[in-house]
Amino acid sequence: MFNSLVASSMVLETIDERLLRCGVSRRSFVKFCSSLMIAAPFGLPITDKRTPEEVAQGLGKVIRPPVIWIAFQDCTGCTETLLRTSHPDLGDLILNIISLEYHETLMAGSGKQAEEALTQAVHNYSGKYVCVVEGSIPTKDKGVYMKLAGRPATEVLADVAGKAAAIVAIGSCASWGGIPSADPAPTGAVGVADLMPEKTIINLPGCPPNPYTLLGVVLQFAESGTLPELDHERRPKFAYDRDIHEHCPRRAHFDAGRFVKQFGDEGHREGWCLYEMGCKGPDTHAGCSTRHFNEMPDVWPIGIGAPCIGCTEKSIAFRVPMFQVIQIHTPANPPTTYPPINAPQGTISPIATGLVGLAAGALAGAGYVASRKFSTVPLDQSVPGSGQPGAPGALDKDHEAGPKASE
């Protein structure tokens, strides 16, 4: 096994040839392909509208792409996520499907041997390999905060990624800076695209991202040399074009207004919506709601009852507090509520009613009082209020008038 491994690392061979040489049966390969389709991301281009046999046939012709995996300010979580796959398992992936030339965590060698392997691989496959970058790159103070074999990360990146055919920035750290870029960002951590915007880069943000996203990207590149359609943030649309909220298994609870109010309450135990606990699902583009982690259903934050923290989004992850409730920007219709045929319209303000009553009462009262001042006797000369014939006329009052009359 070992000899063939070493031997194969020098020669670019197709997957079929590799499998033949390593004694992997056709049947197991087809099984791998079908599991690729089960566990693969929704809309994976290479499995789209094909049977496992067709996928196997297609993939069989693919030349194993060389992959160089370099890591900077990382936590190795993205590598760990790759380990949690069994369709294919990591061994199959790195040995039979791709040609992993350099990976600090997985390779046997270390020290000078490792350095040697990197230089060799970069030289031999220059312009042909896929460079997977894990972890953010420090830029402050001339990038002293991360060094690989004595060279600053920026220099390594320029060298290794510069000669790659395509760069896959796996994880939020490599995509846009990740945790190290959170306030106060002491190392000036940035993503790959911030330093090499002109290169072909695919960002796979997530903390960690789903391993099948990486798989889909690498295999498509391997098969056709093309990369999946990307959005404006260079994320593959097949995995990042929708937000968690759109496909969340707890969406029915959201639509019906059943929210968890406190961790551990009855709603939480029943699995209700976590929006009011600060779930960032509505603003987070990722596929976690359909593809869970560890190949087990419900193994993802919301599935276990923790609100989504928006780990793929630069504007949310490690910036907006985890339990801060966000505004929903694209409301949709809840399916269980319909307006009635005759909706109620208008309200009556009690103060207004009182005001009208007051005014009406005042007018009625004033009217009554005024009318009482009038004489009830039909007279042909009368002054209101006098009540008797021959009463003093209005003119007799002029003695009291005084100089107050105006013009």
């Binding site: 959201f254 949709a332 219709n333 307006p339 009635p340 045929i341 005759n342």
Partner: protein
Amino acid sequence: MSSVFSRRQALLGIVGLGGAVTAAPLASVAAEEHPAHPVAPPDAVSMLYDNTICTGCKACVVACSEANGLPPDTSRSGGLWQMPEDLNSKTKNIIKLCEEPNGKDFAFVKRQCMHCLDPACVTGCPFGALKKNEWGAVTWESSLCIGCRYCEVACPFDVPKFQWDKWNPKIVKCEFCFDQRLKENQQPACTGVCPTGAVIFGKRVDLLAKAKARIAASPGKYFENRVYGEHEAGGTQVLYLSKVSFQDIGLPKLGSASLGHYATMVTSVIYKWLSAPILAAGILGSVIKRNWNRHEAERPEREKQSGLPDQL
């Protein structure tokens, strides 16, 4: 002046109208503008809604909001869901649910502007901000609207909605996606998105025939075996087929005469060429002139008696 209707008096009577003469365009009211049974324009477009097919998915509500650039009405949901309770200043199209008292049967209804053949709102709008165009869609123009809300009072279907919460308020109502889509030869957003074909778009003559064909094919399926909107309020360009009573789904019971006809029956005759006002001015003017002359003739005597100038 001995003769009552001398030329001078008649002339003076007319001149006495003064500014009323500037209301000359009122004279262009003709009974032909509001016939008792209006005729649809030849290119009249139409929508046919059949609630036996509608599933209440509300895709038309969302599509309408998007096509018209309307903000979602989330007031009832605290910002979470778009759930308008009725047509309003943010909602031009809505799906409502009618639940029958027996608790089992239900029916949906799609409500929006009916685009009447002789719309009451168009009749009442003082400066013609609401107009019916060559395809029959009733559209609103902001530069002519004074916000008097007469259209809201006039519409028998309570369709136009005023933006009570805006300082520059508009009248919001379905306009058949005229600017956004009809002009580009596309069908309106709601009919375009309906997944089941419950609401379809076409020419009024065609859809009326189609509706009648459906009735003929399944007698007893549709309420009263007729199409609502064929004759209501003179006829509308949105037609309804319903499995339950039209009144149950909120469509008012209306006669077949258009409201515009009813409202202008008398005024279109008496104001034709301003005949009634001119006649009134002439008659009143001559009588008043005669009385005035007599009043003036008696003035010196009154003033002598009182010793003071006469008051007018």
